[in-house]
Symmetry: C2
């Protein structure tokens, strides 16, 4: 091996170790479900090795292939798209019941469904969400350990690094992923410890502020978002109900909390394209009244947005408010990744759909009815979209009505 | 594409169509579980396409990777090998309950577990069989559609075709698989129709004979096997309880029935190596008394045999008697495939472990207790081993005590 190859192999191993030990924080005797694109097999093998070495009892690996995923929509019969197997949904719920942890490499090809009728995909997405409702409760309430990470695939690297020679793209994507994840040749676990402390401190500060509402202003955006009573800001990692500290998204640069379901008014414009699991939406503008989406446009992919908002009532209300400074390390890469898990960490963002009950005091003990009563949104879906830019100002309104600057020109005002 | 490539592509497509339409015979609205080595991804994609085109509602693909499978035994902790997740076993049972069909590409690398302590693997195999008991009932009683097929992997092709240049092995393995499966450029479905008729006629003839016992004689073999009362010979395809005609093994050249559990006496020698899911056993000699294995030796892999016989009591009794003429098309290839699904179709064979209840009148309606009472063996395992050769003679004893030649020099005597 050349020294270059050695250094790559070392970074790859550090990254695998990091996602297993810090991300999902696998515990002795636990089951782990690794979902990964088949193209990332080499890395996935490393993850499995690290998971067993860390004491996993059984590692189930689901290797996904884009061609097979797309095949359903090319060759399946029309009446099959509203179907998702109950045995598969139930399996996930039982897996969660048994305390299993999930580690998912999620890098959908932004062009995967080009040429496929959009409703086929949205119907299938909705059917899957319906059948996996029982399981989703476990992740939303943070009852189990789960972690979303990234690894390069050809289609994704081609999309993101179209400006560099094709043969270099995968390697450059790896280097970028290492950088984003603070795998820098030093002690990545220690790097994360420090990073998570920084994010936790910011959450604490915001929890002390206890803002009543946030007011966003930027070109194409004038939006007031009330926050729920007893909202809790989270960020970095957190302890799940098993008492295990995990990091749900790697990379992560955000702090986030729960909007008041009926307290969103004004309009907001997206600042990056949105990859809806293989369907692109660009240049959205969404208008809210008393929390609900009442109008929307998009320069492209508007039909996907329409399908998203048709999922259920909750899909037309906000479920998450997240703050990320414009000078975040990922934002400074100055590149669109067509991957929400990354792009959302380069930009302030919002999510339509379900809120995370742990973003509200006692939220994780409430039924859906109680959550709605407390102005926590409930939905089958949860889709983040990016609204941050160098021109974004945000004011915070304190409980006593005082207005103070929170973000100026895209960055923290304090 | 060259004409050679065109012809290969055509054969591949015909084969995919064949296994979907004739093998598992997928029905409109049915779920299909395809289990395949990740190396066979290209072919698996074709299978998925054909399955959707044939009306499958949902195709679940489990891509398996040998390195990951082995990783557990290299890195897992010792106390984990008796474990198999209940959620996984239950999922398979619910899948079967829902009428799902399975199509499995089963080509274990005969050297997969070299250097791994044999008991780790046998413990895990047993734990899996325990947890999948509920599911196994569906396949053993032929309540659902299932089909085992073959496709080349590098490790397997290297083992079987070590005598030809490495770069040709995968292609030659494909050509061999096409040939075995009667994919010959003509109408493969029609070829199978004729082939299945031949096997069915042979089963009918043997059912009319209604032999009381079979007596095997060859170098290293002198074994008398009584057949159960009301035994039924099967071969080729058969109708499952859903009324769907499927072929459980492709290729298939055998006719087979149920031995009387307590009615096996003498000794028998294997004539081919046995690949126990990645563990090789060669030159076995097994002695039976009143049905039970009372002594055994093997030139290599004897410890795997020991572990197999330790699975449960039923693992030490016979569950299947199968007849294959020595001049069968696969046998004429004159090659050891280190794959039971193929080798058993080149050779008369026996299986230790569970019998197929459908090989006895009313067997599929009986409980395990009733099956045992009727001398049908019950076990978590079912392992075939090859005993056919050009020197094998078999006599059949009719119900009136008449002895007649059934096999002479490895082939049908009539």
């Amino acid at each position: 091996m050349s020294s270059f190859e050695q250094s790559f192999a070392k970074s790859l191993e550090q990254y695998a170790e990091l996602v297993v030990r810090v991300g999902v924080n696998i515990q002795k005797g636990q089951d782990l479900l690794v979902t990964a694109p088949v193209e990332t097999l080499e890395f996935t093998r490393l993850v499995v090795e690290k998971a067993y070495a860390a004491g996993a009892n059984y590692v189930q690996v689901d290797l996904e292939d884009d061609t097979i995923t797309r095949s359903r929509f090319e060759h399946g019969s029309d009446d099959s798209f509203d179907y998702y197997p109950a045995w598969k949904g139930d399996m996930m719920e039982r897996f969660a019941e048994a305390g299993g942890a999930t580690l998912t490499i999620k890098v959908p090809d932004p062009d995967l469904y080009n040429g496929i009728e959009a409703t086929k995909v949205s119907r299938a997405t909705k059917a899957a969400a319906e059948a996996r409702k029982g399981y989703a409760k476990y992740t939303r309430n943070h009852e189990i350990s789960w972690c979303l990470i990234k690894a390069p695939t050809k289609a994704w690297a081609n999309k993101v690094f179209a400006d560099i020679p094709e043969e270099d793209r995968i390697r450059v994507m790896w280097d970028t992923i290492f950088k984003m994840n603070r795998v820098d040749g030093g002690d990545a676990v220690q790097n994360w410890k420090e990073h998570l402390e920084t994010l936790n401190k910011m959450s604490e500060l915001l929890n002390q502020k206890n803002y009543k509402s946030l007011h966003y202003r930027a070109p194409g955006t004038d939006l007031k978002i009330e926050l729920v009573n007893n909202h809790i800001w989270g960020g970095g990692g957190s302890e799940n109900k098993q008492g295990v500290y995990t990091v749900a998204n790697m990379p992560t640069e955000e702090v986030f909390t729960m909007p008041k379901r009926s307290g969103v008014n004004g309009y907001v414009s997206s600042t990056m394209p949105l990859n809806l699991n293989g369907q692109l939406v660009d240049q959205m503008r969404i208008t809210f009244k008393d929390g609900q989406v009442v109008a929307y446009t998009a320069a492209s992919g508007e039909e996907h947005l329409k399908n998203l908002f048709s999922t259920d009532e909750g899909a037309r209300y906000l479920g998450e408010v997240a703050l990320v400074p414009h000078h975040s390390p990922i934002s400074n890469l100055n590149r669109i990744f067509y991957n929400t898990g990354i792009d959302e960490n380069a930009s302030c963002h919002l999510a339509v759909g379900s809120a995370y009950p742990f973003n509200m005091k006692d939220g994780t003990t409430m039924s859906n009815e109680e959550l709605l009563k407390h102005e926590c949104n409930v939905s089958l879906t949860h889709v983040d979209f990016m609204i941050g830019s160098a021109e974004l100002d945000i004011d915070g309104e304190l409980q006593d009505g005082t207005i103070e600057p929170l973000f100026r020109k895209g960055n923290w005002a304090f």
